[in-house]
């Protein structure tokens, strides 16, 4: 099994793999997002309690789920990179971080926009919101640490250590925040009683969840390619690739 995986430690092969996967993820992601959005906005029924404003759920929940998956992805890439010293793994870790930060930010913004009509407040120091905010800080920390180094190799190693320290801390932070909130004020507003979702609402949600996931994958793939190209600028295969591009466009 490992023999199959090994060649992708080489940047050229990893680049080609990204190139091959990219159109599939982009296309299916975009189609699913469009289908999911139209379905959710126009055809699925309004919630009997929350009215139409519940529809932001179809962006909010996928982004909240994906933010954690992207952190997991980043930390796993960091772990693989540190243990087996694989360069492409560090590059994909670097590619995960900004996408994760953006998705976390989206989940916070859509949460605030949903919270205003439902709970009457943009922000509440609720456990979930607070731990999401901390997650954003963790993403930003990894990005800032990577950017602070001139030597990309060293920077990505340092950022990888920080990402792993973060993933160990994340559950501790999550549970301590949950504990803190229940200690201070108890769930009053935020006991959002989840009505078990009817199928007409669940299906468009699943479609948009997969759409968002595929789109995130394709953005990450693009960023990995970008990272490979910018770090391997002087390699012959990159130069050949650039020449090919110039020839095609002229």
């Amino acid at each position: 099994m490992w023999k199959w995986l090994h060649p992708y430690a080489k940047t050229e092969r990893a680049y080609q793999l990204c190139q091959r996967l990219l159109p599939w993820f982009t296309l299916s992601g975009l189609v699913l997002i469009v289908v999911g959005a139209i379905w959710a906005l126009a055809f699925s029924p309004a919630d009997y309690q929350q009215g139409d404003s519940y529809r932001i759920f179809h962006i909010h929940v996928p982004s909240a789920i994906l933010s954690k998956s992207l952190y997991m992805g980043m930390a796993s890439a960091a772990f693989v990179g540190l243990v087996w010293q694989i360069k492409t793994s560090f590059m994909s870790m670097v590619a995960f971080a900004p996408v994760g930060a953006a998705i976390t930010f989206i989940s916070l913004i859509t949460g605030a926009a949903w919270g205003k009509p439902m709970w009457g407040t943009w922000w509440e120091w609720d456990a979930r919101m607070t731990s999401q905010l901390v997650l954003l800080f963790l993403f930003l920390g990894v990005m800032a640490l990577y950017k602070a180094f001139d030597d990309k190799e060293q920077g990505s190693k340092a950022a990888a250590v920080m990402a792993i320290v973060g993933i160990i801390n994340l559950p501790i932070i999550h549970y301590s925040v949950e504990w803190w909130n229940t200690l201070h004020q108890g769930a009053t507003l935020l006991k959002l009683e989840k009505p078990s979702m009817p199928v007409e609402m669940l299906l468009p949600f699943l479609v948009s969840l997969f759409g968002w996931s595929f789109c995130c994958v394709s953005i990450v793939l693009l960023r990995i390619q970008n990272e490979i190209i910018s770090r391997e600028l002087k390699r012959p295969w990159v130069i050949a690739l650039a020449n090919q591009q110039v020839k095609n466009s002229s």
């Binding site: 963790l138 920390g141 602070a148 320290v165 801390n169």
Partner: protein, 221 residues
Amino acid sequence: MSGLIALFKRDLSVAFQQRSELMQPILFFVLVVSLFPLGVGPESAILQKMGPGVIWVAAILSSLLGMERLFKDDFQDGSLEQIILSGMSLPAVALIKVLVHWLTSIFPLILLSPLWALFLYLSEPMYWALVWTLLLGTPILSLIGAIAVGLTVGLNKGGVLLALLLLPMFIPVLIFATAAVESASLDLAYNGQLAIIGAMFLFSLALAPFAIAYALRVSQT
């Protein structure tokens, strides 16, 4: 072992020779704590309610301030490299460094804590809870902080970056410490919170030295 003891003695004496730097975290702490009564008004009820949080936030900030120096001098004059090459176990060295840092820049804050209790009108049970949480909790700050300091030691732009990396990591300690003091203010038992802080301390004591050692190796290349 004798090498580690020698290192401990050397670091302590170096720290005591730089007395002005030794005073900085303490002065910073006093200033931050005394700004709060000026900012929110001198009513004793408000200050007592906010006191534990204020003291803990100030302790976190002043530990950040002192942390930057943890490996900096040794890194710049090359002695860190010599220590790595000396064959001493690097995690043990890291642990000694963290211990010296805690003794010189955080322990004095705990020694002076009766003063803060007085400033912020803490009751006696609150004061004892505060001392216990500080004793168990601040070593966690030093241990986790040293990882990030080790990673950024080669950079000339520590400050804000260090705060961005570390402040989110310190949230659990802050939450449980202030919760313990709050329980104490209601005359409730606070062993539970102390036990959790103690668990976090032991956990970081077990793992952090290895992460610090790795961080120092990354910075050295």
